[in-house]
Amino acid sequence: MTNPLTAPRGAPIIAVSNLVKQFGRFAALRGVTAEFDSGKFHLILGDNGAGKTTLLRALAGLTAPTRGEISILGKNPHEASQEIGYMAHPSLLYDEMSGMENLRYFARLYDIAGYSRCEQVIRAVGLDPELSRPVGKYSQGMRQRMSLARAILHDPRILLLDEPFSNVDVHSAREMVGLLKGMCDAGKTIFVVTHQAALLEGVADEFVWMQAGQIVDRTNGLARGPLPSGDVRAVEP
C-alpha cells in the first residue's frame, strides 16, 4: 500500500471528465469536469438534488456513469478500491454484530492480517473495541463513528464521506472532524458532503459548490475565515 506521506501533495490524483449520470429522465450529473488534488480536504456543498451524493458514489464505483470518465490514481474506481474509503448515511454495518466483529469481517475483505488494526481504528474514532453491544443498538453518533472506522480501516488514500455528521451529537461530530483533520494533515485526500458546513470551518481546504448536477464554483477555504455566502457565478462545466 502506498504511503500517503510520500505522494506529492497537491498533485491531482482524481480526474473527472464530462461525467454524466442519468436515472431515466432525471439527470443527476450533467457534465462534471474537474481535477482534485492530493492531500486536500474538499467540502462539497449544494442544495438537495445538486448531485453531490451521485458524484461521491460515482467516485466510489457504486454507480456507473452514463457517460464520461473517472480516473482515480490513474485507474478506474473498481481498480482503485483498495485506496478508497466510503461512508454514507446508512451505516454499511451489520446491526447484529458488535463493532469489533464488523471490523474484523471487513478487514478480511481488504486482506488485512491480524486484528490489531481494527482495535487501533476503533480507538481512533473514540470508541471502545471491547464493547460487545451490537451496532444496531448504538446511538447515531456511535454508529457514524463506527462507520467511519470501517471506512478508514484499510488506510485508504482517499476518503469519500457522504453526510458523516447527519443526526450526530455535537461532541461526536467535533471528534470526527478532529480525526479527519489529522488524517488530512497526514496526507490523505478527503471529500465530505454535508449540510453542516459550519462544522468544517477552518478545516476544509476547498469548497466545491454544486448546483443542478454541475460544479458551479470552487473556492479556497484555507483563509480560515467565515464561510462565504451570496451570489455565485456559473463556471463552464
Binding site: 443526526n167 453542516q196 458551479v216 455566502s229 455565485v232 456559473a234
Partner: protein, 301 residues
C-alpha cells in the same frame, strides 16, 4: 423502408391465405388421423418459428453481454468460430457419427453449426450496441406468442387423436412448455426490474434459459425411455405432398413473424429515441443559479 411495409404486409397476407387454402383443401387427408391432422400446419410452423425467435434472442443476448467489453467480444468471436469449425467437421468423424441419433445426417449437423456461426456474425454486424437489446426484446415477445400457439394447438390436436390432452413424457411439447415458461419469466423480469441494468440482467437470464433447454430435452428423453409415453405429433416420415404444404406454411409464418418483428422493432427503437431525447433535454436544461447561501447546521437531510 416505410413504403415497403404495407406492400409486404399485403403480400404476406396473401401468402398466408394461400397456405391456409393449401393446408385445408389441397393437402391429402391423413390415412390414420383423418382431417384432424391438418392442425399440424399451424402447430409445427409455429414451433419452428418460435424456436428461431428464441434462438435469435439467445444470440443477441450473448452478443449484448459479450460486446460490452472489447476483450470479451473478441473472445466470444473466437469461441463461435471454433464451435463452427468443430460442428462442421466432427459429425463426419466415425466415432462421433455413431453417437448421432437415428435420422440425423452428419451433413445436416455440419450445416446447422455453420449456419449458427454465420448467424452470430451477421447479427453482430447489423445490430450494434443497444440494437442488440431491442432485437432481444422483440424476438422474445414474438417468440412467446408463437410458442403459446404451439402449446394451445398441441393439446387441441392430441385430444381427438390420442384421447389425452397432455402427455408429460412428450419430449417436444414439454420442452416447448419449459421454453415458454423461461421466456415468460424473461418478459416479467424486464417488466418488473427497476435497475438501470435491466437489459444486462435480462440477457443473463436468456443465457441461463439457453443453457437449460438441452438439459430439459435430455432429462425428458431419458425419462421417456424408462416410462414409455405416447408421442404427440407422431414420428416417422411424411408424405412428400404433406411436407410440401408444411414447408409452405412455415414460409408464410416466417414472413408474418418477420413483419411483426420489424414492426415491434421499429416501435421499440422509436420509444427509446423518445426516452433519449427526453433525457438529453433534462441534461441540457438551462441552469438558473439562485444565490447560494450556505445553510447552517440543519441536521438531518
Amino acid at each position: 423502408m416505410k413504403r415497403a411495409f404495407p406492400i409486404l404486409a399485403v403480400l404476406t397476407a396473401l401468402f398466408l391465405v394461400y397456405a391456409f387454402y393449401q393446408a385445408l383443401w389441397v393437402a391429402p387427408t391423413d390415412a390414420l388421423q383423418g382431417d384432424v391432422y391438418r392442425i399440424i400446419y399451424y402447430h409445427v410452423p409455429s414451433a419452428w418459428t418460435a424456436f428461431l425467435m428464441f434462438f435469435i434472442n439467445f444470440i443477441a443476448s450473448v452478443e449484448y453481454l459479450a460486446n460490452s467489453k472489447a476483450s470479451t467480444a473478441r473472445a466470444a468471436k473466437w469461441i463461435v468460430i471454433a464451435l463452427g469449425i468443430i460442428g462442421a467437421i466432427a459429425p463426419f468423424i466415425p466415432q462421433v457419427r455413431q453417437q448421432l441419433p437415428a435420422g440425423m445426417y452428419p451433413s445436416s449437423v455440419a450445416t446447422t453449426a455453420l449456419i449458427i456461426a454465420a448467424l452470430y456474425f451477421m447479427i453482430g454486424k447489423y445490430f450494434v450496441g443497444q440494437d442488440l437489446d431491442v432485437l432481444a426484446v422483440t424476438t422474445a415477445e414474438v417468440g412467446v406468442v408463437f410458442c403459446s400457439i404451439v402449446l394451445v394447438t398441441g393439446p387441441i390436436w392430441a385430444r381427438p387423436v390420442w384421447g389425452i390432452w397432455w402427455a408429460p413424457g412428450d419430449i417436444r411439447l414439454t420442452s416447448t412448455l419449459v421454453l415458454w415458461l423461461i421466456y415468460v419469466s424473461y418478459l416479467v423480469l424486464r417488466r418488473f426490474s427497476d435497475s438501470a441494468q435491466t437489459q444486462k440482467l435480462a440477457a443473463v437470464l436468456a443465457v441461463f434459459g439457453a443453457l437449460d433447454v438441452p438439459l430439459v430435452y435430455f432429462s425428458i428423453w431419458f425419462f421417456r425411455t424408462q416410462h414409455p409415453q405416447p408421442v404427440i405429433g407422431g414420428g416417422g416420415s411424411m408424405d412428400p405432398r404433406m411436407l410440401h404444404v408444411l414447408l409452405l406454411s412455415w414460409m408464410a409464418f416466417l414472413c408474418f413473424a418477420f413483419l411483426v418483428c420489424w414492426s415491434r422493432y421499429r416501435l421499440e427503437k422509436l420509444r427509446r429515441e423518445v426516452e433519449e431525447a427526453e433525457a438529453l433535454e433534462s441534461l441540457l436544461e438551462p441552469t438558473e443559479l439562485p444565490s447560494i447561501k450556505v445553510p447552517s447546521s440543519r441536521g438531518a437531510k
